[in-house]
């Protein structure tokens, strides 16, 4: 009898040891101080103030933003009168189009990126071939497969219907009366020849007008910001050490997915900061699309942005050279840039498949399966290593990614065409 009591006592002692070990592994807050620091970094409350854009002196001008909003939704800014910026960057779809390749006048070779939060990015497009929102906006406007327009066409249009709005902001429009109806440095040979036939001073004046269009659109796009998601509410509870709220805000699978995201799955290496992106370029071995031309990503985008006529150091930029540090110190070449594509933000990621630069993956499950397998890259070297995630763990990471969905922090009046 006595030995039985001793045995039960011993068993209880061992159980309490297990209990205390379990308690130390999963205390009331399941996060260590180091975890909390990482989560705080991802929290929307850590968003720094909107960085200035010294290359655009109209960036924070409300009147310019209102004019930019009109331009953003204006389908007249296209070859056939049906394509606006908002066609592929639809506000109701988080400023993207949900298609693997975008459809403008023709079909592009890449997937439309969201413009939400891009005011924080030093580089625009999947290959970073532009270094400001205004320079970015000018690319599609004269791309043959996107808006399909050109500079004098837009100048005639604004001179005809929006002269007052333009001139109130930017001063007198260039005199367009003697300019060709369609001219610009574009793929269309007729418009190109007409452009080449213009006087250099006229080309410069029209290009300055064109840059101003981009600056107004950028002033509008700077207002498009993400709002808090369920993840952010959870992190707020973590920061307040509110363990009761923590248990109700997210499911155990979502929390486990968060742990994997910042740990074993290494997602946070590149998807860091409150926008879940380091805004850098990485080769993650994403497969190429057979019917599309070879795409070397940043290896092609880096020389393009250096030579871009609208970059931070250009004559159309309002910045002093010393304010163009990102451009001046960018890595211009190297193995690291081959098939490196920009890390996209993961805010609202679950709402905007398909994924990757040409919509290679339809579902988040496809994306996670890719990262888990870490196949060799079609060119260059993939930075990935196999993750050894189980099916359950993959499902948990996806459950976590869905907690990053939330409404925009932008006033509804900005999300529809202006009256």
């Amino acid at each position: 009898m006595k030995s039985r009591f001793m045995l039960i006592g011993f068993a209880l002692l061992v159980l309490s040891m297990i209990g205390s070990i379990a308690f130390s592994a999963w205390p009331r807050s399941p996060w260590t101080q180091a975890d909390v620091a990482v989560l705080r970094g991802l929290w929307i409350g850590s968003m720094p103030p909107l960085p200035p854009d010294p290359s655009n002196r109209y960036a924070d001008n409300a009147q310019a933003a209102a004019f930019g909003q009109r331009l953003f939704f204006d389908t007249r800014l296209s070859a056939n009168g049906t394509i606006a910026c908002a066609t592929c960057h639809a506000p109701q779809q988080g400023f993207q189009d949900g298609k693997p390749l975008s459809q403008g006048i023709g079909t592009t070779n890449r997937r439309a990126m969201t413009i939400v939060g891009t005011a924080y990015s030093p580089w625009l497009f999947w290959d970073g071939r532009k270094d400001s929102q205004w320079a970015q906006a000018l690319g599609p406007l004269e791309s043959a497969v996107e808006h399909g327009g050109n500079r004098t066409r837009y100048a005639h249009l604004i001179a005809g219907s929006d002269r007052a709005a333009y001139e109130a902001l930017f001063g007198p429009l260039p005199d367009t009366t003697l300019l060709p109806p369609s001219a610009g440095p574009v793929a269309d040979p007729t418009a190109r020849a007409a452009w080449d036939g213009m006087r250099a001073a006229d080309r410069d004046a029209i290009t300055r007008f064109y840059a101003n269009m981009g600056k107004a659109i950028a002033a509008y796009e700077r207002t498009i910001m993400p709002g808090p998601s369920r993840f952010d509410t959870y992190v707020q509870a973590v920061l307040n050490n509110d363990t009761v709220a923590m248990q109700t805000l997210l499911t155990p699978d979502e929390v486990m997915g968060m742990r994997l995201f910042i740990g074993k799955a290494h997602c946070v290496n590149c998807h860091n900061g409150p926008l879940f992106t380091n805004n850098d370029f990485h080769n993650t071995g994403v497969p190429s699309v057979p019917r599309l031309p070879e795409d070397t990503g940043r290896a092609h985008g880096a020389p393009q942005v250096r030579g871009d006529e609208f970059n931070c150091l250009s004559r159309y930029s309002d910045a002093q050279p010393a304010q163009c540090g990102e451009l001046q110190f960018m890595k211009p070449e190297g193995e690291q840039l081959i098939r490196a594509f920009k890390t996209p933000s993961l805010r609202n990621v679950a709402e905007r498949g398909p994924f990757m630069h040409a919509g290679q993956f339809t579902t988040l499950n496809d994306v996670l399966a890719h990262y888990n397998r870490a196949p060799a890259a079609p060119a260059g070297a993939s930075e990935l290593k196999p993750l050894n995630l189980s099916k359950t763990e993959i499902a948990q990471v996806i459950a976590f990614l869905k907690t990053l969905s939330g409404p925009l922090a932008t006033a509804p009046t900005w999300l529809t065409p202006p009256k």
Binding site: I18, N278, F329, M330, K331
Partner: protein, 162 residues
């Protein structure tokens, strides 16, 4: 957990399978400890003996160099500058050194997103390094090549960014 398990043990005790149970519980403890160890130690594969000091002597002992980032702690995803101080091992400032540098993440197979360079000499062996930018947390190495007075030597700084 306790309320369910304890009667089971008591029942087992009655049946006389005492030592099997004790061994089983012992094994559980061992497994629990192993899992905890893995949780604590499983994440890093960085060498354990790295020197993270911000003042270091160059490989062949020619120079002593010190880094002073303009922002402390070193930020992620933010362009910033450093001051590099170069002197002889006995503390005489090195003037007019030719300095190049690059940063790498040994565990990730990539370097910095920028090409930082020395942009000015401040006097007293101090040099401004502009264009520093790190796009990930973790272990970084920043290697400087220093040339002065016809001699070249390298110095490496380890960083652990959070």
């Amino acid at each position: 957990m306790n309320t369910i398990t304890t009667p089971t043990i008591a029942t087992a005790v009655k049946r006389g399978n005492n030592w099997k149970w004790i061994a089983g519980i012992g094994a559980l403890v061992v497994v629990a400890l192993a899992v905890l160890s893995a949780m604590n130690w499983g994440m890093g594969s960085m060498p354990a003996d790295l020197d993270f000091s911000t003042t270091r002597t160059s490989t062949n002992g020619v120079f002593r160099a010190a880094i002073r980032p303009a922002v402390d702690p070193i930020p992620i995803n933010t362009l910033h500058s450093w001051t590099l101080h170069v002197e002889t091992p006995d503390g005489k400032p090195i003037e007019n050194a030719m300095i190049t540098l690059h940063g790498d993440m040994p565990q990730h197979g990539h370097g910095m997103p920028t090409t930082p360079t020395v942009t000015s000499y401040l006097g007293q062996g101090n040099y401004t390094v502009d264009g520093m930018k790190f796009q990930m947390a973790g272990w970084w190495v920043v290697d400087f090549e220093l040339k002065a007075g016809g001699t070249t030597d390298q110095v490496r700084f380890n960083l652990l960014l959070k």
